[in-house]
């Protein structure tokens, strides 16, 4: 994240691609880069001027995620609610801004 912010502060758009837990990623990348067996490739950190104008992704408001002293049970999603959210909303919130999430 520090690298992310460092790059963002210089004006770059960033992209963090994870290779954690992907055995094939290790096999594919280590020989290309001459990385020893003992090491693991964690991530690719890509940055540069974006090809298309970037946009701000929506973020949950503090009210939705912050509690005081005790966890607020109204913030808890049941398995069914969570499943429904993943099924109907997840793909939208990953790639669209808040206005486009219905």
């Amino acid at each position: 994240m520090s690298a992310h912010l460092g790059a963002a502060s210089l004006g770059y758009a960033v992209w963090w691609v994870t290779a954690i837990g992907q055995e094939n990623a290790q096999k594919a990348m280590k020989p290309l880069l001459g990385i020893s067996d003992e090491l693991s490739v964690l991530d690719i950190f890509a940055f540069g001027p974006p090809a298309r104008p970037p946009y701000k992704l929506w973020k949950k408001s503090l009210d939705e995620i912050v509690d005081h002293d005790r966890f607020d049970q109204t913030h808890f999603m049941s398995d069914a609610e969570l499943e429904e959210w993943i099924r109907s909303k997840r793909h939208k919130v990953m790639f669209k801004d808040a206005d486009q999430v219905d």
Partner: protein
Amino acid sequence: MTTQTTLHVNDVEPSRDDDVLDLPKIGSRARYDPLMAVIRNRVTARAFDPDFTVPEEHYDLILDAARHAPLGANSQPWHFVVVRDPDTKRAIADYFVDEQRARAKMKMKFPTPAYRGLATAPGFIVVASDFRWVQAFPVLKNDDSDLNRICTGRTWSAS
């Protein structure tokens, strides 16, 4: 408990000296505000201008930020490989594209981005970790606690 802090004349420029802590006065927004300007406006892109050349000093500036990230037991097991060779970038992008296709065939309903754009990234840094540094962690009980699971299973979170 109070922490002794010194208010510096130049409150925005962090010290370049590794050994000197230059803390702002508690509550001073001299650093918070510019930091939030960076955080709030940080954007993800999945395709880049491939013709742009990242100035050498930018790698240094960015990786200098990276190496100051907090890490468990301050173990610093990381290695950063700056990739400039377009063929290597393309080969790595190819892997992720293939991986994505394999997952699509398995009908994993996971919205994955278009990895092809990875090859277009002018700045391309591979982060590797030496997991032998797990030994730098305090001894854990061999139980099913969250802590044990995190440290022996998922291990490091990247910075």
